[in-house]
């Protein structure tokens, strides 16, 4: 092979590496330039030299490639590369004379807040007494208007109070996943394929006999802005929690974890409950260019002190966002994280035991959240931000059921199930199974049973 050919091939390899390897995060300061590469640097002027030796260039070009470029380029070509990188660096941050810092809205709109405004009582079309009501004509219906868990419907807080409602299941059909998007159809898909709150095959309890469950409808979202959705959802979750009902939230994408947990904190106080989260993604992005998104949900909750890091347990982490920096930050926040690597190394049961111990030692009250990406794609192909090598549906429901039975649950949220991505009903059925696991757990606790109670009739046929 000709020398040019070899060079071209090296270039190609470097290029591929550059594409594969994310730039290594490095503390500001000096780049320890290998000694043999110091000579080419003499071609650079003081400003260019400072840019390279400070390590600032490594934000844009992998170290390996920069070393290669230093070793192989002539002076002119090296100068033009460094100039280009400096130009890119100058464009990276926000410049108020160049960049839009805030998206303007239509302030002349007559419908600026439309959709976020619950109808005031005097304008409601139908007069009725407060309390949950059935949507069915029959005493023992098998179909009809679909509701979560086949439950009665409640619309206003006074319905929840009058019905002494324990569980309000609520859709939040946001649709801004940073993966594939269809989570807005999650709530209605879960309503339409109702497998929630049937007789529990483990304890033989009937959830509807122990708990007053309602479908509390959907909370309104702004399709075009997560930012403009957050406050309304926070307020509505808080209003729901203040009635004494436990909000069980059905997303929607995982950005709604932020207003979901924040709303509970608004009703019960910041840092008064722990957070158990099942998620493939750490969602701890700190330097995002947006103020809220699924990638930032955990960061916002921890950063604003809505939950304490030491009372936060994350299970199932993996995926492309789980880099060195995010793990370092989670550790610095004292978050109890459990990656899939840990689960593969030690086995799920051992890790679950550890998770349960961490939850038991935490506050009395817990919020349980799951981004369905934590489940393996084999059983949850409709996860918006899918990541292979996840937990099985059995592992997830076992863990959630236990915790929901062992702790005082203040809220539950399942997010980012995008039904369009699954032509079968499997993902919806498994999403229902996850919600059902927590619902049954809460019922088991209310019935005064042990968290992992199994009815003797179920455990053994009793024949000799």
């Amino acid at each position: 092979m000709s020398p040019q050919g070899i060079l071209a091939r090296c270039g190609m390899v470097t290029l591929i590496l550059a594409l594969l390897l994310p730039p290594f995060e490095r503390a500001a300061g000096q780049w320890p330039i290998p000694e043999e590469l110091l000579a080419p640097l003499s071609a650079l002027n003081a400003e260019q030299l400072e840019f390279v030796s400070s390590g600032a260039a490594l934000e844009f070009i992998p170290e390996r490639q920069l070393e290669y470029e230093l070793a192989t380029r002539d002076a002119d070509s090296l100068r033009s590369l460094v100039d280009d990188l400096m130009a890119v660096a100058a464009e990276m941050g926000y410049d108020p004379n160049r960049d839009m810092g805030a998206t303007p809205l239509n302030l002349a709109s007559k419908r600026f807040n439309k959709g976020k405004l619950p109808t005031p009582a005097p304008l409601r079309k139908l007069k009725r007494d407060a309390g949950p009501f059935s949507v069915h004509r029959y005493l023992f219906p098998t179909s009809g208007v679909p509701t979560f868990a086949g439950a009665k419907v409640a619309i206003w807080p006074e319905d929840l109070v009058a019905g002494k409602v324990d569980i309000a299941i609520i859709g939040i059909p946001s649709n801004a996943s940073s993966g594939r998007r269809d989570a807005r159809h999650g709530p209605n898909a879960m309503r339409a394929t109702n497998t929630i709150a049937a007789t529990d095959e483990q304890s033989l309890i009937e959830p509807h006999e122990i708990l007053s469950v309602v479908d509390y409808g959907d909370f309104s979202v702004d399709w075009l802005s997560t930012e403009l959705t957050v406050d309304h959802v926070t307020d509505m979750v808080a209003e729901t929690a203040e009635t004494g009902a436990i909000p069980m939230l059905v997303g929607g994408d995982t950005s709604m974890l932020y207003p979901g947990v924040k709303g509970i904190a608004k009703a019960r106080g910041r840092g008064t409950f722990g957070l158990l989260q099942f998620n493939a993604h750490p969602d701890s992005e700190r330097f995002g260019d947006h103020t809220v998104s699924d990638r930032q949900a955990m960061f916002l909750l921890l950063d604003e002190g809505i939950v304490n890091g030491s009372e936060t347990v994350q299970v199932g982490l993996r995926g492309s966002a789980l880099d060195l920096e995010s793990l370092q930050w989670l550790r610095s926040q004292k978050v109890r994280y459990h990656t899939m690597a840990e689960i593969q190394q030690r086995g799920f049961d051992k890790v679950l035991t550890k998770v349960i111990r961490e939850v038991e030692r935490g506050p009395d009250a817990f919020f349980v959240s799951i981004d369905v990406s934590v489940i393996d794609p084999a059983e949850m192909i409709a996860a918006g931000r899918i990541a292979p090598n996840g937990l099985s549906i059995d592992e997830v429901t076992r863990a959630i059921r236990h915790v929901c039975a062992a702790k005082d649950i203040v809220g539950f949220e399942i997010t980012d199930m995008a039904p369009m991505l699954d032509v079968s009903r499997l993902s919806v059925i498994n999403a229902n199974a996850v919600l059902n696991a927590c619902l049954v757990g809460i019922a088991v606790r209310k019935a005064g049973l042990e968290p992992d109670y199994v009815h003797p009739l179920v455990l053994d046929h009793g024949q000799r």
Partner: protein, 535 residues
């Protein structure tokens, strides 16, 4: 087939055609010079929102302005109004209250059913809704703030300097080792271009740009999956068109211009960057062909063309089941707003808008009245139902080909019947068939002066087959074929190849001799062309 719809007489290669060739060469030279000059110009347009600016145009919707007089209330209901303040009574008579109370007789009936206390609560609740629906300073946030502290604020749209990769000459880049084929999939297996230098050096005629925008959609899968699927199924784009016997890839230089960066958490932010990229393509003289994402794209596409060709100099033909001229919500862009916004900002005159295929639940009479008053040429499926497709087809092509028009085609695949394009965000039954859509797109691209094209709202996950992507691909191909015909001078009304459109063995249609003559004339001309020295 009615013979007057088909032109089978191909113009003889003559001095006029040579002039066309010279004109094309001159245009390319001018375009190249324009690019060289454009490099020094400011990157952003005057309307580019910077910092925390408000929207720099009027944003109220005049269609919502309501000049109806307040209703009269008879003296008989006066006791019911006893607890109301004069302002509350005035509100109850105003049109703002009509949305809740209906016409005057309903209002009077509703008042009679209520006690004065109930009337007071009722009116105050209406005022609450009206007031809370409007923006209020201090209570509502006037904008969507971005995290300007982010050190990676612009990372999403930063472009990779050419100097980071091994040096190469400018021009289209073949990605495969077998005559350029066999590499990663590109649109139509065309070579890749990454910058305007590549477009100019390659004398590129058409640059196909993926735009994976999905924030503004109903169903949101028009992101990277749409542009990827169009590339995976790209091969039909390059092939021979049997109807007109033209292979676009032999007549035109076509490239895959990669995907434009989008921020799928903020449509507005994507708009200015997409507009920059469309502008840079158009400034080289190439036709930007934008494919993939949601119909918000029509706004930056047409605005980018207007930046190059001048405000109010570009006409738009909008294929869609929706009219997309909604306005008046809290947002200023979304997949229902691009038409209104383009007109509102003065990029396109309303009378230069032609719409084809509308049939969704809206607009209502107010919307249609507005379109008629503004002089927009709308051709709804109701017109097709009344007059038949062939009549509408000719009318549309005639309007679009009027002298002096520079035309952008915006093709929302939901104009097609869901039988042909089920994988779209907001499908509406009763749409065009592929046998209607292909000829109209081919004819428009051949017979009018097309300077831009987009195909939007493809959501592959909604179609477990590859049918919708296949049909989308053939719409793009129809335009490429038309553009190639235009470049070859085949711009007369509804040209079809006299050889492929009729076997001419008998005189079934009474036109046997004409077909045979036309075929012979084309053969003569092809021979003449072979004799001419190649460029």
């Amino acid at each position: 087939m009615a013979s007057d719809n088909v032109s089978w007489v191909r113009p003889i290669w003559n001095i006029e055609m040579k002039n066309v060739c010279f004109a094309t060469a001159a245009a390319l030279f001018v375009a190249a010079t324009t690019v060289a000059m454009a490099a020094d110009e400011p990157r952003h347009t005057p309307e580019h929102v910077i910092g925390e600016q408000a929207y720099p145009f009027a944003s109220n919707d005049p269609r919502e302005e309501d000049d109806k007089p307040p209703i009269e209330l008879p003296d008989s209901v006066a006791p019911k109004l006893a607890l109301l303040t004069p302002e509350e009574i005035e509100f109850l008579k105003s049109n703002d209250a009509r949305a809740f109370t209906g016409p005057a007789e309903d209002t009077i009936e509703a008042l009679n059913e209520r006690t004065p206390e109930e009337v007071q609560a009722w009116v105050q609740a209406m005022q609450h809704v009206v007031n809370h629906n409007r923006y209020e300073e201090g209570r509502d946030t006037p904008n969507i703030r971005l995290n300007t502290e982010s050190p990676k604020f612009n990372a999403w749209r930063l472009q990779r300097p050419r100097s980071m990769d091994p040096a190469r000459e400018a021009g289209p880049i073949p990605l495969g080792r077998y005559d350029g084929k066999g590499g990663p999939p590109t649109f139509g297996r065309f070579p890749l271009a990454l910058s305007t230098e590549d477009l100019v050096a390659g004398e590129v005629d058409v640059a196909i740009l993926g735009a994976p925008l999905n924030m503004g959609s109903g169903w949101r899968d028009s992101g990277e999956r749409a542009t990827a699927d169009l590339r995976l199924l790209g091969w039909p784009l390059a092939g021979l068109d049997q109807y007109v016997q033209i292979k676009p890839s032999e007549v035109l230089t076509i490239v895959d211009y990669g995907d434009v960066a989008v921020d799928n958490d903020n449509t507005e932010r994507s708009m200015s960057h997409i507009r920059d990229i469309v502008r840079e393509i158009a400034a080289t003289g190439a036709v930007p062909m934008i494919v993939g994402g949601d119909h918000s794209l029509e706004y930056p596409n047409v605005a980018g063309l207007a930046d190059v060709y001048g405000k109010e100099k570009v006409s738009v033909i909008h294929f869609d089941s929706h009219y997309d001229a909604w306005w008046g919500g809290n947002h200023l862009i979304g997949h229902g707003y691009p038409v209104y916004r383009l007109i509102n900002e003065g990029h396109v005159r309303a009378e230069d808008y032609i719409q084809v295929g509308l049939r969704s639940g809206g607009p209502d009479k107010t919307g249609f009245k507005w379109m008629r008053e503004k002089g927009m040429r709308y051709h709804n499926m109701a017109e097709v139902e009344a007059h038949g497709w062939d009549a509408v087809l000719d009318r549309v092509v005639a309007e679009a080909s009027e002298e002096g028009r520079k035309l952008h085609i915006s093709f929302d695949i939901d104009v097609l019947d869901p039988a042909f394009a089920v994988a779209t965000g907001t499908p509406v039954p009763g749409g065009l068939t592929m046998r209607e859509a292909i000829p109209i797109v081919r004819r428009l691209c051949a017979e009018s002066n097309v300077v831009g094209f987009d195909l939007v709202e493809l959501h592959p996950a909604l179609d477990p087959t590859y049918k919708t992507t296949l049909n989308s691909t053939y719409i793009i191909k129809a335009c490429l074929t038309g553009l190639a015909m235009n470049k070859e001078g085949l711009t007369e009304k509804h040209y079809l190849s006299p050889l492929s459109s009729e076997h001419a063995i008998d005189d079934y249609y009474g036109e046997q001799q004409q077909y045979l003559d036309a075929t012979r004339a084309e053969e003569e001309k092809d021979k003449d062309e072979e004799k001419e020295p190649q460029e």
